[in-house]
Assembly symmetry: C2
Homo-oligomer: 325 residues x 2
């Protein structure tokens, strides 16, 4: 390891140029408007990576968790996995019209399904569209859908409707030696289909909700069979800290969310270390995206009281989406 000191010097120098712009390179957070939120982020990261700082954090403890739908990627009018489920369910009905008489298909086709707040109907729909097949079959179907589906208003593939500032933040943190994880209420296999290509986050760093699987020999080969049974807990609300503990085994120092379902994750991170950064994205830009407070009320109140910093999309996002490729 005789090259190690030189290597470390080069790595540090690389991090400075690409990550922190000390030498006047491009701003790695160019899509963020200058202001308090942006400077809070850059100060936090500078201090966490500066061995001379009292707030220095060893690389192995630099862990960041991001919610997915609404935090990294557009979730209105319907988040991509729900749109996938609805499209799949319609295909099933087209193949077998008798399904129309059964839930969750009947209320879906009547247009009365609507809200994901009816958790039982939602789980029923998820089970119908995500189980009873092999893992590889599901992945092929999901990848096919992701490649062809278009957002109803914006007419772009869902996976292009990711927030440019968030993509920059993920890369900025990774350049600063952070392990960046996704912690999504959505299905882990669905998000893993695009997380590496779209966010640069590998499947091993995606925590999500999931159904149980069985590993069974089928035609002489071990296969994962997707079962009609949930892995407990669902990765939402207090389930997020539980699954972070299960998958990561240490408490992140940085968390980003956008809804009440992220509140326990944000509070968990804020409480556990002396210095943390917890961010709540507020969708308040009806002109450039969608404005909504529904499902973020508790989290906004908590942010008013405490350590959670609100990102205002209107004020803090210079750009919303990446330009089309």
């Amino acid at each position: 390891m005789r090259f190690l000191p030189l290597l470390l010097a080069l790595l540090a120098s690389c991090a400075s140029t690409s990550g922190l712009s000390l030498f006047g390179g491009e701003d790695p957070l160019a899509s963020w408007a200058d202001g308090e939120v942006k400077s809070t982020i850059t100060s936090f990261v500078s201090e966490a990576t500066d061995p001379e700082s009292v707030h220095f954090v060893p690389a192995e403890e630099r862990i960041a968790v991001f919610d997915n739908d609404g935090t990294l990627i557009c979730e209105k009018p319907m988040y991509s996995q729900l749109a996938f489920m609805v499209d799949r369910a319609r295909e099933y009905v087209a193949e077998d019209p008798t399904l129309r008489e059964k839930e969750p298909y009947s209320s879906l086709m009547d247009g009365t399904f609507g809200s994901t707040k009816d958790i039982e109907a939602f789980i029923e729909l998820a089970m119908e569209t995500h189980t009873g097949m092999l893992d590889e079959e599901f992945v092929a179907v999901a990848e096919g859908w992701l490649a062809s589906a278009r957002h109803p208003d914006l007419q772009r593939p869902y996976t292009e409707l990711v927030y440019a500032p968030m993509l920059e933040l993920v890369a900025y943190l990774q350049d600063a030696g952070f392990q960046v994880w996704i912690c999504t209420g959505g299905g882990v296999d669905f998000v893993r289909c695009y997380a590496k290509d779209v966010y640069g986050i590998g499947p091993e760093n995606v925590i999500g909700s999931s159904g149980q699987k069985a590993f069974r020999e089928i035609d002489g080969r071990g296969e994962f069979v997707r079962l009609r049974e949930l892995v407990v807990p669902i990765n939402d609300g207090p389930g997020k800290p539980v699954n972070i503990n299960r998958h990561i085994g240490r408490t992140p120092i940085l968390a980003v969310g956008n809804s009440d379902g992220d509140l326990e994750m944000l509070e968990y991170v804020a409480q556990r270390h002396a210095r943390t950064l917890t961010l709540l994205l507020h969708h308040d830009d009806g002109e450039r995206e969608f404005a909504y407070d529904d499902g973020i009320e508790r989290a906004l109140r908590a942010a008013g009281d405490g350590e959670i910093e609100v990102i205002s999309m209107t004020r803090d996002f210079e750009t919303i989406f990446q330009p089309a490729p």
Copy 2:
């Protein structure tokens, strides 16, 4: 990123010196006896890391999984977590002698408990000793025990009784850009207590069995409460591929085990890629360690037929344990 090409060259050069001994450095696998197993390992890793080789594997897919008890660390006469449970149960009985009348305590104190094959009694013992407390309390108790307990025959701390060749193999793979994971039937929180210090494997790379936890506010702080309910599946047998899929989301190219409980993991890895390395450690050295075929019969038969390579401790381990520090 203008230093990147130089950096990559230096990294490659580091990997060659420390990992592959091309320049005559120290043998990174010095505790392995020269022979077929050792050369199979070094060829596999050389080819996987050589961009010119047809068997080259991109760094992100270089994933290795190791069983823990009996593979990385001595498991006889009793693996460390079982010894921990027995010691804890004896303490409970000393505090409350009426427990002596109840299972699993009565058969434990009678000496009739014995085998971990009585899975119900075993789970009962695990629940008694691992749940009904906060996560932080459990970790403190487990760390205290690990620091003070001694192996009954060898009179050394359990965490010193790790196999020197396996420690070298873990480091050798990490130097070659592999993500090295533990996939243990044991309890994930127990193994995480020492995995980083002893193996250099962080908690986020430890997959194991676990009880459910609830995240609850207690005295104004979010705490993990350890519940009397298992996370499904237990991480043994076909549960290992299921949990590898859940945690990693891609199939490893290398797996190491030592028992029938590892067979599905080994077969899963062997089947899924064109070129894999699957190793089964056979404890056949009664002089230097413990010789036993109990619980490895199916796996040995499978190794005879197929792609699984048997490591004979007698033949392939030049050294068994690290010297005492």
